[in-house]
Point group: C2
Chain length 205, copies 2
């Protein structure tokens, strides 16, 4: 076989693999957004994509990995939150704000901006992000607390409302002075809010 | 003059007026976004639009009115906030959250969604909204407090971060349970945060 042929053949195989991976992702995005994570089986995704179910395990690290890949997260939530989750819940407020601001101050900022804009601009992406939140973020952030599931979800969604708004005010709308403050100043002002939502006194529901 | 001619003539005049108004608005949007509200004079807008400065007063209620028109606000911030501003500053937290949620629960919701999406999707619209915030919202919300301008801006931008995030979590991303809670429940949970930002203890800057 001539080198040029071998090269073409390798490219051809890779192209086919990327097509298969892309077809699986498109099916997963559609089904996760429409039926939620729980309501979507790997078997159903394989059928929608017209591929053998074994290929889903070949290309993705299970259903969780497929969900993460279908949203194109710039960073893995578990890794980002690992150090926060090691703290006791009543010390996570400031750490959570600090960790997320540091992520936004990193070279990942453009990818995060794209993620925020597509989440807000598209219903499907919103639905995927709700699943990511429920599956990959909420449990980590609320781990080790003794609230029931309803309280965890309420507290987690209040935390999300403050952090989402902070990130948008600072990095998207660039509202001063919150856009220009040093990270630690923002942590000092917003950390107590997040701590109250996490473990403080809320109004009885 | 025949009725049909008169009709055409009236339509022609109205068409020309709409063109002029549109030309002025396009010039104002561009200049406000580029140089800010303070850095943009009515004279400069008139020159950019190639119209007589008197026409700006004819079509718009001064520079403030021109700014509002250039953002296509679904509601006038002064009117929306009137009842909140009548309260003493240390009682405005819950009232502010309640008033803004009621606005979002009204038939204006689709227009507000469009405003949020365009603010987050476009740098120019972000710049215009920063001016609206600084000129039409911040002073109203912080009126009657004795903080210096720096403190007012810091507190106002923290309030904005929480309310922006709340509105996006509830109405755009529709994160549960915050998306489904009765207005008064959200007011009870988020009101104290807004009150702390408005008049409570912040970390010394």
């Amino acid at each position: 076989m001539k080198p040029s042929q071998r090269h073409r053949s390798r490219r051809g195989r890779r192209g086919a693999a990327e097509d298969t991976r892309g077809t699986i992702l498109a099916a997963a995005r559609m089904l996760f957004a429409e039926h939620g994570y729980e309501g979507t089986s790997l078997r159903r995704i394989a059928r929608e994509a017209s591929v053998d179910p074994a290929l889903l395990h070949h290309y993705f690290d299970g259903k969780d990995g497929l969900l993460a890949a279908s949203v194109e997260l710039p960073a893995d939530p578990g890794e980002v939150l690992a150090a926060v989750v090691e703290l006791p819940p009543d010390q996570r407020g400031e750490a959570l704000v600090r960790t997320l601001l540091q992520l936004w101050e990193s070279p990942l900022q453009p990818a995060l901006l794209t993620l925020i804009r597509s989440t807000i601009g598209s219903k499907r992406q919103s639905a995927l992000m709700r699943e990511i939140f429920k599956r990959r973020i909420l449990n980590a952030v609320m781990s080790g607390t003794e609230y029931d599931d309803g309280q965890k979800e309420l507290r987690g969604s209040l935390v999300a409302s403050q952090i989402l708004g902070l990130v948008i005010a600072r990095y998207v709308v660039r509202l001063e002075p919150v856009a220009a403050l040093p990270v630690e100043d923002v942590v000092g002002q917003v950390g107590p809010t997040v701590q109250r939502y996490l473990t403080g006194e809320l109004q009885p529901g």
